[in-house]
C-alpha cells in the first residue's frame, strides 16, 4: 500500500509538470459586450468563439497545443473593457486578443494592446480602429464607410443624386453619418436632408414627414442598428412615402424582417454574404464557409445566425491561421503573419491584409440585397 502511494506520488511529482508543459495552452483573451445595450452583438460573438474554440481543441488544437479562451463581459461599457483588457494582459497572460464588441470598447483597449505588443483583432465597425493603421490592431467587420459607398454605388446605378439621411444618435449611427457625409460627394450625391432619431425612440413620424416634404428628395438612407430602423420602416409605409428606402448593414439580420414585417418589402441594404448563405451561387468561394458556419451555429444554439457572430468567427480563424503560418505563438511573428494574410476566405468576405490595410476587405465583400416577399434577394 505504502509503495503504491509512493509510486503515485512520484509519478505525480515528475510527470505532471512535464505533461503540463507539453500541453501549455495558447491563451486567447476576449472582452465582449454579452450584456447591456450591445448584447445582441456580443451574445452571438461569445457563443461563436466558445463553440469554435471547443471544435478546434477537439481537432487537436493549434500547433498541437490546446486553445484556451479567457473571456470577460464589459456590459457595453468602454471603461470596463479597458480594465478587463489590462487584467487579460497582466494577470491572465494571454497570448492574443480577439474581441471588443463596440467601437468604444475597442478604442479603450487599443492603447493597452499597442503598449504590451499583443496582436489584437477587433470585432467592431468604426473606421478609426484601423485608420490610421496601428501596429498591433486589426479588425474583421466591414466599416461604415464601405456601407455608405456600397449604397451610393447602387443609387448611382438608379440615377439618384438627391438623398435624405436619417441616422441614429448611437455611436454606430453617428459614425455612419460622418462617413456618409464624407463620401457622398465622391459619388455625386447631395444630402438634401439630414435628420436623426434616438435608439430608443418609438415613433419617427415627424422626421420622416420633414423628409417627405423636402423638395427634390429621390431616396432615403437610414443609418441605425437594432429596432429603430424597423420602426422607421413601419412609419415610412404608414406615411405612404414611395421613394426607395435604403438601410445600412446594421440591420442585416433576419431579426429585421421579423420586426418590420410586410413594411420591409422593397428595402435595399448592403450586407455580408453570411445572411444569404443558401442563396449564393454555387461557384461563390464564400459559399462553403458561410453555409458551414450557419449550420454549425444553428445546430449548437438553435438560433439563426447574425453577421456579428460571423465577425467573431473570422477574428478567431484569422488568428489561428496566423499562428499556424508563423509556426509559433511569438507575438511579433504572429503579427507579421496577420499582416501578410492573403485571400483568406471568411464568413464576412475575403481578407487580404497589408501594412496599410488592417481590415483587408473591399467593397465586393458587401452584397446588395433587397427584401422580396418577406425574404432577402440578392441584387446583381
Amino acid at each position: 500500500m505504502k509503495t503504491l502511494a509512493k509510486t503515485l506520488a512520484f509519478c505525480a511529482a515528475t510527470l505532471l509538470p512535464l505533461m503540463a508543459q507539453a500541453a501549455e495552452p495558447i491563451r486567447i483573451g476576449s472582452v465582449l459586450s454579452v450584456s447591456g445595450p450591445a448584447a445582441f452583438l456580443g451574445d452571438p460573438e461569445a457563443k461563436t468563439l466558445e463553440m469554435y474554440v471547443a471544435q478546434i481543441n477537439k481537432q487537436g488544437g493549434v500547433l498541437g497545443r490546446e486553445v484556451k479562451l479567457v473571456h470577460y463581459d464589459d456590459g457595453g461599457d468602454a471603461s470596463k473593457a479597458n480594465g478587463f483588457a489590462k487584467r487579460l494582459i497582466d494577470d491572465d497572460k494571454v497570448d492574443f486578443l480577439v474581441g471588443g464588441t463596440t467601437s468604444g470598447s475597442t478604442m479603450s483597449m487599443v492603447p493597452l494592446a499597442e503598449k504590451a505588443g499583443i496582436p489584437f483583432i477587433s470585432l467592431a465597425g468604426a473606421v478609426v480602429i484601423v485608420e490610421p493603421v496601428k501596429k498591433w490592431v486589426f479588425k474583421t467587420p466591414h466599416s461604415d464607410r464601405m456601407a455608405a459607398e456600397k449604397v451610393f454605388v447602387d443609387m448611382q446605378k438608379r440615377g439618384i443624386t438627391k438623398v435624405a439621411l436619417l441616422s441614429e444618435t448611437s455611436g454606430f449611427g453617428q459614425s455612419g453619418k460622418k462617413e456618409t457625409e464624407a463620401v457622398a460627394a465622391k459619388y455625386g450625391i447631395t444630402l438634401v436632408a439630414n435628420e436623426t432619431y434616438g435608439p430608443k425612440d418609438t415613433d419617427m413620424g415627424p422626421q420622416l414627414t420633414k423628409i417627405k416634404n423636402t423638395p427634390g428628395v429621390q431616396a432615403v438612407f437610414v443609418f441605425g442598428l437594432g429596432q429603430g430602423p424597423a420602426i422607421v420602416t413601419k412609419n415610412y409605409r404608414q406615411l405612404g412615402i414611395d421613394l426607395p428606402l435604403y438601410q445600412s448593414h446594421g440591420v442585416a439580420s433576419d431579426e429585421f424582417l421579423k420586426l418590420a414585417g410586410p413594411a420591409a418589402e422593397g428595402v435595399r441594404l448592403p450586407s455580408p454574404a453570411q445572411i444569404i448563405g443558401d442563396k449564393l451561387p454555387a461557384d461563390d468561394p464564400q459559399k462553403p464557409v458561410v453555409t458551414a458556419y450557419n449550420a454549425a451555429y444553428k445546430a449548437a444554439y438553435n438560433e439563426s445566425t447574425s453577421t456579428f457572430g460571423g465577425y467573431a468567427y473570422d477574428g478567431l480563424m484569422l488568428m489561428v491561421q496566423a499562428v499556424t503560418a508563423a509556426g509559433s505563438t511569438d507575438r511579433a511573428k504572429v503579427r507579421d503573419a496577420l499582416e501578410a494574410t492573403k485571400g483568406h476566405v471568411g464568413v464576412s468576405g475575403t481578407f487580404t491584409m497589408s501594412p496599410t490595410d488592417h481590415m483587408g476587405l473591399d467593397l465586393s465583400s458587401f452584397r446588395m440585397l433587397e427584401v422580396k416577399n418577406g425574404d432577402w434577394a440578392l441584387l446583381p
Binding site: T169, K200, T202, D203, P206, K258
Partner: protein, 291 residues
C-alpha cells in the same frame, strides 16, 4: 403646411398615449401608498413580451392579451407580498428603493428566460393606417387612445363612486385613521399593486405593435411615464392622460419644427417651466399643509 402640423400632432398623440398609459400606473400606486413604483416600466414590458410569447405559441389574440395581463398582475401581487409588505412601516424612500430592486430582478429574469432580442406584435386591426385631415394615424393608436380613455374613466368611477376606491384614497391620506375606521390597509396596498401591474401590462400589450418591445423597453417607458405623471400632477388620473399626451406632442413638434437632434430636450425644458410655475403639476388640487 397644415397637413404637416396634423402629422406631427398625430405622431405626438400616438407616442403620448403610450406615456399616458405608463403614467396611470404610477398614479395608482401613489394614490394608495405615496410610493413611486419604479418597477412600473417592467410591468409594461412584461405585458408586451408575454403577449408576443403567447401569440407565437399559437394562442388567439384575445386569449393571449388576457393572459398577458393576468400574469403580470400576479407578478405585481407577488412583488407586493414578498418585498413590500414585510417592510410596511418603513420610510417611503426605502420602499421606492425596493421597487427599483424589484425592477432589476424582473428585467434580469426576462433577459435570461426570453432573450435579448426585440420583438414585434401585429397590429390588432391591420397595418393599414387611418387617414385624417390629410395626415395618417396608425390604427393601433386609436386602440391605445381609446383604451386609455376607458381606463381613466373607469379609475375615476372606482375612486369616486365605490367603497374600495374610497378606502384606497383614505389609506393614502392617513393610514392610521383609515385603520381606525375599519379599512384593511394591507389589502389596499396589495390591490393597488395588482391594479397598476395589470394596467401597466395592458398598456404594454397595446403599445407593442407600435413601439416593438424588448427586455429593456420598460426603462424608457417608465421614465417618460413618470415625467408625464409629474407634469399632470401625481395622483391624478386625468393629469396622467394630459401629461402623457403633452410630453408626446411636444416631442413630435420639437422634432418637426426645430431639429430632431433636440427632440428630447424640448419637452423637458417646457416641463421644467411648468413645474417652476405650478410645482404640483397641472391638475393637482391646491392643498394647504398644516404647520
Amino acid at each position: 403646411m397644415l397637413t404637416e402640423f396634423f402629422q406631427y400632432l398625430f405622431s405626438g398623440i400616438t407616442v403620448g398615449a403610450t406615456y399616458a398609459m405608463a403614467a396611470l400606473g404610477f398614479t395608482l400606486i401613489y394614490n394608495a401608498s405615496n410610493v413611486i413604483n419604479f418597477a412600473q416600466g417592467e410591468f409594461i414590458m412584461l405585458g408586451g413580451m408575454l403577449a408576443v410569447l403567447f401569440t407565437q405559441a399559437g394562442l388567439p389574440l384575445p386569449v393571449a392579451v388576457l393572459l398577458a395581463v393576468v400574469v403580470p398582475t400576479l407578478v405585481g401581487v407577488l412583488v407586493e407580498k414578498s418585498v413590500i409588505e414585510p417592510v410596511k412601516g418603513a420610510d417611503t424612500v426605502n420602499i421606492i428603493i425596493i421597487t427599483i430592486g424589484a425592477s432589476l430582478v424582473i428585467r434580469g429574469l426576462v433577459q435570461v428566460t426570453l432573450g435579448k432580442n426585440a420583438r414585434a406584435l401585429p397590429a390588432f386591426s391591420g397595418e393599414a393606417p387611418v387617414t385624417l385631415l390629410g395626415a395618417v394615424l396608425p390604427s393601433q393608436s386609436l386602440w391605445v387612445i381609446g383604451v386609455t380613455a376607458l381606463v381613466v374613466a373607469g379609475l375615476w368611477f372606482f375612486f369616486n363612486r365605490t367603497m374600495g376606491g374610497k378606502a384606497m384614497l383614505a389609506t393614502a391620506i392617513n393610514r392610521t385613521a383609515a385603520q381606525l375606521v375599519g379599512i384593511n390597509t394591507a389589502w389596499v396596498l396589495t390591490l393597488s399593486f395588482a391594479l397598476s401591474a395589470g394596467l401597466g401590462a395592458l398598456g404594454g400589450v397595446l403599445v407593442t405593435p407600435i413601439t416593438l418591445t424588448a427586455y429593456d423597453a420598460g426603462i424608457m417607458l417608465g421614465l417618460k411615464g413618470f415625467v408625464a405623471a409629474v407634469v399632470g400632477g401625481l395622483g391624478n388620473g386625468m393629469g396622467a392622460l394630459v401629461g402623457g399626451l403633452l410630453v408626446g406632442v411636444l416631442e413630435a413638434m420639437g422634432a418637426g419644427y426645430l431639429s430632431s437632434a433636440y427632440k428630447d430636450a424640448v419637452p423637458f425644458v417646457l416641463i421644467l417651466l411648468i413645474l417652476f410655475f405650478m410645482p404640483r403639476g397641472l391638475f393637482s388640487a391646491k392643498t394647504t399643509e398644516r404647520v
